[in-house]
Subunit: 226 residues, 2 copies
Amino acid sequence: MKYEGIYVAPTLVVDSIIFQLQAGALTVLLIKRNQEPFLGTWALPGGYCAAGETTHQAMQRVLLDKTGVNTDDLELTEQLYTFDTVARDPRGHAVSVSYMGLGKDLEPGSGPDLQSPAFFPVDDLPDLAYDHADIIAYAHSRLKAKLTYTNAVFALLPKTFTLSTLQAAYEAVLGRPLDKRNFRKKYLSLGLIEATAEMFKEGAHRPARLYKFCQPDLQTLERSFD
Amino acid sequence: MKYEGIYVAPTLVVDSIIFQLQAGALTVLLIKRNQEPFLGTWALPGGYCAAGETTHQAMQRVLLDKTGVNTDDLELTEQLYTFDTVARDPRGHAVSVSYMGLGKDLEPGSGPDLQSPAFFPVDDLPDLAYDHADIIAYAHSRLKAKLTYTNAVFALLPKTFTLSTLQAAYEAVLGRPLDKRNFRKKYLSLGLIEATAEMFKEGAHRPARLYKFCQPDLQTLERSFD
DNA sequence: ACAAAAGTGTTAAGAATACACCCATGT
DNA sequence: ACATGGGTGTATTCTTAACACTTTTGT
């Protein structure tokens, strides 16, 4: 072993990629940086992880501090990847552990200490600091995969939902239209959702049956979706 | 932001999970710890990541130092997961970035500085330090998944191989027998491998055709395997 | 009555599974 | 000639993909 004297660890940071659906589009939470480097540029919310703090705890703290979003309001959190970045920081080399979070009806806070948090459609992002555009693209591809082999959509939807809403969620994430009849047939055959007694009435058209997930936690599908 | 004074990063370590096939079994590289904690207990090769060093570089250095295995001899390396561990180390909290490596004909070195590196069948592991048994189980499950949706087997096989060898590799990783005719039909239909002109003669039976991968790098399958 | 979204079935093609015998070689 | 592993085909079931009209409601 080499480090018999003083051991100096690399800077450790955490970044969050928080997705939700808004107006039928998949959106991601960004902040406007209020310090150099990349002052004034949009970026993923991130910050330092301190000794004695797990990366997950650091993620929760940083997310709350910078965006006002509480991780208790997320339905699903998952570690994404750990990036080695050379010029992430004026200190030089840093290691960034990134987490993906999914939720619904998330409200970025507003206040002087927050960094203008806002959700942007993933198909219409502003210029981003660092390699954050790549990280978002990677998270998006992971999310697509996750929707095909798990029931992770539940984290993007309300407790009860119509089949059209469910299909729209898949279409928003996957970025392409799906056949209505095939979608319903297949999804119902998976046995993950069940009809409730309620209907959803809205507008001048036939009411829709409301469904719910049988189990509100992450399940792996045996037949992968699409 | 909280850390305006001195910032102290958590201890950052890297661990390697190196797999290869030996005598038809999937094996993983372990060392016998020569220090506390867990002195004398088998463990995954791991060590500190220092400032100025990427986690990947640290993994390469640590692996070579502790086992004599050179990462240049690995056919495939992939970051696995980053574990927050509380009691990993006498220093207290640590963050461990783990990498999975695949290779063939890997020879652990021997020498006074090395920590008795040896390959053990994943189905017959000794008692392990820390949560390394869990980490290996996780890596194994990721490897199984990887074999079903990519051509990652190439990293476990020689340049040319028979279909029986290929099937045996799948069976060793997945831990269950596969049907010979269906396996061949499906694998050949994927178009990832092609027959060479050579045959492999061995023993008192019909020689086997040797195949090779068309492209010797990682490909994602469109139809997932099995 | 009409506009708007909900709901519903069939057919055809492709993929997965189950299954048993002959072939080429060395001894 | 026999033992050993290499090599091959078919029938059945299940899954996927393509495709259009009727129903219920509010205005």
